[in-house]
């Protein structure tokens, strides 16, 4: 049995630890493995915590020099009818780094490929900018970078993860909604979240086996969202203005 002094000491250590370590990174910080273990990176997005602030959108654009008008990740926002009247729902979108990525086999020059850790990436020196992979992605996660002339997409911030950091969107998420980690490891926070909650993926019928999982995903947002009206219609109606 522990004495009261020991219990208080443990509590003080825990309090200091919690106050000095970012919450979302505490157990998900990717580490280079010395044991030869190859992780399978994935992401869990807890929609109950997402407030749609777009901090992830901005930090991704800053980290990866995404040109204005294009996005590697975005947070779509919808008004959904509920029992109690209209409610708001948010849906962060990014490359799903699928187990069966349809963007890879179509590439005619093998510029896009999947790393051993599961991240789907693009060799910008090899890409000819044919746009075939952009067409093949069912998530609109790819685009042609108008500055480089090659296909572009989320890489799970491969440059940061390789250095032991979290992807920029995860690091910046103020609500701790985005959690990144090794899906192969039972001890990772992503694995624990997946086992503890009902999780869904986007467009499962496409057979791509996405590795970005959502907690609290409304089924009306799981596939193509059939919005009746909204910002897209407004954009199409209003004369385009350069900002």
């Amino acid at each position: 049995m522990k004495t009261r002094r020991e219990i208080l000491s443990l509590g003080a250590v825990a309090a200091v630890g919690l106050s000095t370590r970012p919450a979302s990174a505490a157990s998900t910080q990717p580490q280079a493995s010395s044991s030869g273990h190859v992780p399978r990176w994935g992401m869990v997005i807890d929609l109950r915590k997402c407030i749609g602030c777009q901090a992830c959108t901005v930090s991704c654009a800053m980290e990866n020099a995404v040109p204005v008008g294009s996005h590697r990740t975005v947070v779509s926002s919808y008004e959904l009818p509920t029992k109690n009247g209209p409610g708001q729902a948010v849906l962060p979108r990014l490359c799903n780094h699928c187990e069966n990525p349809p963007c890879i086999p179509v590439c005619p020059v093998k510029a896009t490929y999947q790393q051993k850790d599961g991240a789907v990436v693009i060799d910008a020196e090899q890409c000819v900018g044919c746009g075939y992979c952009v067409q093949a992605c069912p998530y609109d996660a790819r685009f042609i970078n108008q500055e480089t002339g090659v296909a572009d997409k989320c890489t799970f911030c491969v440059q940061r993860v390789g250095a032991g950091l979290l992807p920029a969107c995860v690091e910046t998420c103020v609500g701790g909604a985005r959690v990144f980690g090794d899906l192969k490891s039972r001890d990772s926070q992503v694995s624990k979240l997946i086992s503890a909650h009902k999780v869904d993926v986007l467009r499962p019928h496409m057979g791509t086996r996405p590795q970005v999982y959502y907690i609290g995903l409304d089924e009306r947002l799981q596939d193509r969202v059939e919005a009746e009206f909204g910002s897209r219609d407004l954009r199409n109606q209003e004369p385009h203005q350069e900002v």
């Binding site: 749609g52 008008g69 294009s70 996005h71 975005v74 947070v75 779509s76 926002s77 919808y78 008004e79 959904l80 009818p81 209209p86 708001q88 979108r93 349809p102 086999p105 179509v106 590439c107 005619p108 020059v109 093998k110 510029a111 090899q126 890409c127 000819v128 900018g129 044919c130 746009g131 075939y132 952009v134 067409q135 093949a136 992605c137 069912p138 998530y139 609109d140 790819r142 685009f143 042609i144 108008q146 002339g149 090659v150 986007l202 467009r203 496409m206 057979g207 009306r220 193509r224 969202v225 059939e226 919005a227 009746e228 009206f229 909204g230 910002s231 897209r232 219609d233 954009r235 199409n236």
Partner: protein, 337 residues
Amino acid sequence: MENGIVDLVSFDQGFAWRHWAVWYFLLVGSAVGASLIAFITTLRDENDPKVRSALFAAAALGIAAPFPLLADLHQPARFMHFYLGAAPDSIMWWGSWFLPGFVAGLAALVLLYSPFASRFTAYRRYVWYWTTVFAIAVLAYTAGEMTIVRARPVWHDLFFPVILTLSALVSGSGAVTIVSAARGEVWDMVRRMLGLGSLLFVAGILTWIATGLGKSGTFTELAVQDHPVSLLFVMTGACGVGVAALAATRVALLNVVAGIFAVLGALVFRWELFMGAQAQPKTEAGFLPYSLLADGDALAGLFGTVGLLVVIVVILSLILVDEGNGEDARPASHTTH
């Protein structure tokens, strides 16, 4: 659909395939159609003068085709990457070999039918076989590379490759009709192909629309909900019917008009299929705005492609002259019925 969902914040990704893809698919599809007509004619009589009309059309369109394809690459200077490695899983990679094979075959045939290679006429048959094999391969790859894209329901549909292929054959017949009419020929076989093909084309489009009623992200949604697009579809249908009606006449001028309508109908159809499908977001409803008239680059591409075709036609007129007399093939010296 009334579900009460409103998109508050949404994002649009740009079009990956630009207008150049439309010109490419029009040119190469028509070229294949024309070359197949020429090949069928050679099976009966290799020296039939009408073979030259079909070859002329096929060569003009086929030799022009790679230019807009190259322009559609966002890194055109890297086109050699297609040939520096193998990507057999990609239909587009196979196409990068089929297309040069087809164009090389057409260019070789132009030379073999020119006065400069009169000693090598015995080789024509072999080159025709070569060209026809590659023509069919091009037809298969162009339809196949889009049909496999599951993310685009408009393309990932059994009707898509069938009607795209039919459209290629109709526009190829139209191009041959224009050339043969300019040469003073009335070619009954092509006229019938044009008329029958157009009717099948219109029937196919209407059936396709009917099968997609009430479904999201389909060709039907494209044709019905996006009003400017549906207007163009009506035009396409009208063109088809017009072509069918006009093709029933033996008056050369009306045949030229029919041929022009056939090619224009194929152009409009491809524009809607390629640009219209890309205007459908994959994860959300609505349409992204895109208009040929609002895109100065697209208009420049249109005039540039037509200009390129004119240049190639002029060059071919100098090379592909009538056998034996060395005169330009175009004068209406022979009318065949």
